[in-house]
Amino acid sequence: METMKKEFLTVEKFNVISDVFSQAITGELIGMSNFASLAETIEDPNEKMEAVEHANSERMHAKAFMAYAKERGFKININLNGQYWGNVRKQFLSYAHKFDFIACLIIQEVMLETFAISMYTDVGNALGGEAGRLFLRIAEEEREHLEHSSEFLRNELIEDPNAFINKFEEIHFNCMTILSEFSASTDISGHCGVCSGSCMKLSLHHIGLDIVTIRGNALALYAQALDEIGIPGEKSIVWIARLPA
């Protein structure tokens, strides 16, 4: 991490970077757990193996973030049961328990991945150096997951547009409501349980970021993902407009 090695980190900067890594690691572990659960919903052996591979990919991402954080001595807090991450996981499991592969794919590969790709990209560009490259590399790998799933979901939509859109809408309000509360400029449902101190969103300016831009970019990528799948714009605008802010 040539940039950060040379740079003296203020306490504020150290704390916010620690929290950013804590969120990323927790998110990757949620993704890993989700893919592992997803594997249980799949009958096809090849697809089952693919889900396990994805779980492993998320594990590797978590491991990479953890290794880097350990090397730099960041203060890491992992909490899969916090207010927002825990609720997202519960939503995912509710569909996994019904063996609803499509719903699981939508939550993990569209909703969580678009937020991860966008936020990692913003963080990567802001941090620069080795840490920045790590975030950008993982964002690129997550993007491949999203593209792969978009193609699959596009075919599902073509088969039965009304049923698919209705299902997507239900999942959107169940899951994106949580992510929207999580990323709102103020904590709508309380502390996330991951940040070490108070909410890091208020401290992002220490690393050249702000939550409004991060959140806006994430929602923009989500909207583009909906377009790619074929969700009509007049539907997606309503879905987005009705989210908490």
């Binding site: 547009p161 806006g216 923009a220 909207a223 377009d227 074929g230 009509p232 007049e234 407009a241």
Partner: protein, 360 residues
Amino acid sequence: MDSTTSGLDFAVLGHQDSWENISDFINGIRTSNEGELTNEKIKEIFSFIPPRTLFRMKVRSNTGAEIKGTYIETFIEPDKLDSSFLRVNIAKVRNAVSYAKKTKAKIATLGGFTSIVLEGNLDPFSDGETRFTTGNTLTAAFIVKGIEKAARDRNVNLKESSILIVGATGDIGIACTNFLKNKAAKLLLSARNYLRLEKLAVELINDGQQVIYSVNIQDLIPEADIIICVASATGIQLSNLKSGVIICDAGYPKNLETRLEQTKGVHLFHGGMGQIAGGYDLEPDYSGTFYRYAAPHIVHGCILEAIVLAFENRFESYSEGKGKITTDRMEEIYNLSIKHGIDLAPFYNAKGLWSQDQNI
């Protein structure tokens, strides 16, 4: 594209002219459980949203024909239309153009600010199935037809009148100027760029038209019997107006009422607007939010140009570039619009429809 875009005749690319409209739209969508969002919260999200269809349209002609279209929002912020935001806004328009192409609409019109990319010949967008038009020809036609009608209604003789055109060197301004050439006693021209203004004025003078021009509209206002304003109202103040002056507010947004020093004896209407006799439907029905005017089925001329061309199966870039609109083309598109039951909108302004002894 998406699951419902096949068979579109036209697309409209547009943007909202106030945060109030945007707030009405967003909060109109939200349920009582979700609660209303403040303008601040809406502003946090709005400009990030990529271009997308907000609603579908079905438009009916007097001939019995019906066409289908879509409105694509660019999410340009209404208070960021000036030149300092040009780069970001042009990027938004380009994204919306790409989106429109994916809808495979046969013709698309660039409403309001978005026409800048075609006017400036930044890109003809000629690849793909969708043809693009600025819609400026029919807008200009409705402006001048509106002036002619308002003058007739008020017993004002154009031949004896001085007509001030504010924004005379823009695409619509040039079209209006050329249309009115040798129809008015005097043309008073105003624009920000002196060299362009001088060039236009010299051409008109060479054609036998009496012309006075200035970059300062206050120099010209006291002499104007009629004023056509096709420029943004930002920075414009209308004072020392002649009593009985007719003003056509054809800028974007239409808010000249707020720039008037006096209102008594001023007859101001929002110009460049048409009305569809056969009506239209929006799906979802956002008629409580979009196209809220003093009378039903009033629509901007630029949108109507694409609609008329779609009714005529003329999927062509009817208006593009700057300064290319001819009087013949204005007459042609206007006559085609009449054929389909699309005529001048009734005169109205922010206070509502004109009454018999209308003052603003």
